[in-house]
């Protein structure tokens, strides 16, 4: 294996990991505030891709724009789809269970996840024919960049990968600013640290929780569009595996920590690409390559948690009862 091949794997891993990180932020913010593992977050992610695609397909002028110019418009559609679904799920599925035993919202989240998958599976209109087709089993095609990838040394950089890393960076910079500098961001930190006392400060914690869901869903929509651009397709069940990986990334980075989510995503993305790529490169180990990708991802999680139970950037949660 040459250095170039290795760097190529790392490069691909960074793009994949940045996408995991963007999704992981939503898991970690919601968990940090209400200790809910929102299993439906993967579906918020999936909705973002379909929302963006809907704008692309159903507003024909958008298709005639250069893709880079069409993307911001698609992003609006994607964000609306994700955010609306997230707000509805929070309001009608999770909020009524705020004071219920922890298992109840967890099971509900799994229910919401299945419901949302099936909604898209059954109702999303196939492109081309105006007719609604029952059971959109096949992935739906997503627009991709036409141009050739860039060369850096011997390493190929796909346009979609480059864009993924740039938007992930911008999103994280915005989030850092939001949490540290804005009034709502500080309210969010206070609510995560001590919800009752936050209320005694005059913070409407119900509103803060909605903001966490909205931000998480908006980031997931961004991630979903990068997924579509990179793989050229979206599918009703894409949220399952991406969501699971992103959740792994959130735990790996230290659940509750927003920077940890991105670090965890990058570590997971790189590790996944490098392990499978290296193994697949040699005849003797070939069989443990790509097919075993998920095994390596979760093995990494187990090893990290054995050594650092609080995750890479996690804090020991001693001050939380």
């Amino acid at each position: 294996m040459t250095t170039t091949v290795f760097l190529q794997l790392v490069t691909n891993g960074i793009a994949q990991g940045a996408m995991y990180g963007l999704i992981a932020v939503g898991y970690t913010m919601v968990y940090g505030i209400i200790q809910l593992i929102n299993f439906a977050h993967g579906e918020f992610f999936m909705f973002g891709g379909f929302g963006a695609l809907a704008v692309y397909l159903w507003i024909p002028p958008v298709q005639h724009l250069p893709l880079l110019a069409a993307l911001p418009i698609m992003l609006v559609g994607g964000m609306i789809a994700s955010v609306v679904i997230a707000v509805l799920a929070e309001r009608f599925a999770y909020r009524p269970l705020r004071n219920a035993p922890r298992l109840a919202p967890l099971i509900t989240a799994i229910g919401v996840s299945i419901l949302l998958q099936q909604l898209v599976f059954l109702w999303y209109p196939q492109p081309g024919g105006g007719k609604v087709q029952v059971g959109v089993n096949a992935p739906v095609q997503f627009p991709t960049f036409a141009g050739k990838p860039f060369h850096l040394g011997g390493v190929l950089i796909q346009r979609a990968n480059l864009l993924t890393v740039i938007v992930a960076f911008l999103c994280m910079a915005y989030l850092a600013y939001f949490v540290a500098k804005t009034r709502t961001g500080r309210a969010m930190q206070a609510t995560a640290q001590d919800p009752d006392t936050a209320r005694l400060m005059g913070i409407n914690t119900d509103k803060v929780i909605v903001v966490a869901f909205v931000l998480g869903a908006a980031f997931a929509a961004v991630a979903s569009i990068t997924y579509g651009l990179r793989f050229g397709q979206v599918s009703y069940d894409m949220g399952f595996s991406a969501g699971l990986k992103a959740f792994t990334a959130a735990v790996l980075g230290g659940i509750g920590n927003i920077y940890g989510a991105m670090v965890g995503g990058l570590v997971l993305g790189i590790a996944e690409q490098v392990t499978t790529g290296v193994l697949a490169n040699y005849h003797a180990t070939q069989q443990w390559g790509t097919a075993w990708q998920d095994v390596w991802a979760f093995l990494l999680l187990i090893i990290v948690l054995l050594v650092r139970p609080q995750g890479l950037l996690g804090e020991r949660v001693a001050d939380r009862a």
């Binding site: 500080r186 206070a190 640290q193 001590d194 006392t197 209320r199 005694l200 400060m201 005059g202 001050d319």
Partner: protein, 237 residues
Amino acid sequence: MALLEVRDLHVAYGKIEAVKGISFEVEQGQVVTLIGTNGAGKTTTLRTISGLLRPAAGRIMFDGKTIQNTPAHQIVSMGLAHSPEGRHIFPRMTIEENLLLGAYLRKDAAGIAEDVSNAYSMFPILGERRSQAAGTLSGGEQQMLAMARALMCRPRLLMLDEPSMGLSPIMMKQIMDTITQLKSSGTTILLVEQNAQAALSLADQGHVLEVGRIALSGRGADLLHDEQVRKTYLGEE
């Protein structure tokens, strides 16, 4: 009309009733104290007044308005501040950020800055450590911060839940001196204490809670000399 009026308040945790029908008032400018042994229902009472718990029955009026169904964050905006038992400062935020959260509902930047510097002159140690994470403060310093933070909303009624809990005698005295200072500057205070001696000596009015009921009420000074109170709460034989 009293600033705070609690009428026949009942509060339950599931089926267990922790507060079983208590009534009392706090007049503008007064210091009123609730004393009683552990588990008497003092904290439950304060948490219900500030909206963190909902009463099973009864009525809470603040400034003439019924508040027992008002969300906690709106009760603060009416001018009722609550410094909770166990201090509950935000450990991973700096001292200054903690103070600013106390002023979360205020929009007057100049007034807030002035109150922050007042807090630092009242508790110089907080000023010296303003950029330090609040979790690194000692218990007494955290109590100072909790009180200063509660004052940041310029409350019309300040509720303090066991401010002297777990403090060294010197620290305890300093906290009690601060409460005396607040009293003389006209702050209305509802003080919950296990340190009955200190609380009764500065309170205008005192109520003794026993397993969810008010067993005895009176002027602070009178209760301090009441034989029953001295026996039960001041450890005299």
